[in-house]
């Protein structure tokens, strides 16, 4: 079921950012990850997280710089709707997680029903412990507008 999961996750993530927020992403290959990591290390980030269950279960996490989230939220809101608030930023990250996760799961298996938790957004970085033993972990790195983004999916069969 998880064959080609990395490719599917990349396609879905690119589509969500480009279609809903008009923000093109580029994939960072493994060789460039160290550079991307150091470039984004000083940026304040937000980390969204959503859990899923169904034919298999797990969680998806998305980390992106606060400045980039601010740009995405500003693009969605019209002029004259007031300043961008912290709630707008959390809302944006939550919705990104929801759309990427929901689309990815239906791409993997659209016959089964998947249940998604309500997404939540935290200000802390990705946890050092990258999942429990036996979990399948998918790590993907992207760049948008010179900002680094990181997506991680943890699967427990």
């Amino acid at each position: 079921m998880l064959e080609g999961i990395e490719k599917k996750a990349v396609q879905v993530t690119l589509k969500v950012f480009e279609t809903m927020f008009f923000m093109p992403l580029s994939v960072i290959e493994e060789d460039d990850e160290a550079t991307a990591g150091s470039a984004g290390s000083n940026l304040s980030s937000l980390r969204g997280e959503i859990e899923f269950s169904g034919p298999s279960s797990g969680r998806l996490m998305l980390s992106l710089p606060r400045d980039l989230v601010n740009t995405l939220a500003g693009g969605a809101l019209s002029d004259g709707e007031g300043a961008i608030t912290e709630a707008h930023l959390l809302d944006t990250v939550n919705e990104l997680c929801n759309m990427i996760c929901g689309n990815l799961l239906s791409t993997i298996d659209n016959k089964s029903v998947w249940d998604l938790s309500l997404p939540k957004t935290l200000s802390d970085p990705f946890p050092e412990n990258e999942g429990e033993a036996g979990n399948r972990i998918v790590n993907l790195n992207f760049e948008a507008d010179d900002y680094p983004l990181r997506l991680q999916i943890q699967w427990t069969e």
């Binding site: 589509k15 969500v16 279609t19 809903m20 927020f21 939220a73 969605a76 809101l77 019209s78 709707e81 709630a87 707008h88 809302d91 944006t92 939550n94 919705e95 929801n98 759309m99 996760c101 929901g102 689309n103 239906s106 298996d109 659209n110 016959k111 089964s112 029903v113 998947w114 998604l116 309500l118």
Partner: protein
């Protein structure tokens, strides 16, 4: 002809994205109302003339399916076509929502053309 639309989604950002995409699509909107959950949507629908409801599925307080069931129980509101805009895409879930009388379904993320095609087809079928 312009239609009065009610957008129901717990994400304010997503409500704005939907509103903008509908505008870009060329589908003509008159008044556009927003609700953060099914309960708020029912209150607005009882007080305003709404031609079309665009609703998310997963929302706190009252989700999209509960809202549709309430709409169908109300003789005055049952006429309003509902289109779900959600990340859900499983065949079983689609069977469930269409059995409730949902008129259309759009999966997020969506293109303006998709929105326009679905909404125009539904409103044409309504005789508008």
């Amino acid at each position: 002809m312009a239609f009065n639309v009610l957008i129901v989604d717990d994400s304010q950002i997503m409500r704005k994205v939907i509103q903008k995409t509908v505008a870009i699509s060329g589908f003509e909107v008159g008044d556009c109302w927003e609700a953060g959950n099914g309960q708020e949507a029912l209150e607005i629908a009882r007080g305003k003339w709404i031609d079309l409801i665009l609703a998310d599925l997963n929302m706190p307080v009252m989700n999209g399916l509960e809202m549709i069931r309430e709409l169908k129980r109300d003789d005055l509101l049952a006429r309003i076509p509902v289109v779900l805009i959600t990340t859900e895409g499983s065949e079983k879930r689609l069977e469930e929502i269409f059995a409730l009388g949902v008129r259309g379904y759009i999966q997020k993320p969506f293109y303006p053309e998709t929105i326009r095609d679905v909404l125009e087809k539904i409103m044409e079928a309504e005789g508008a």
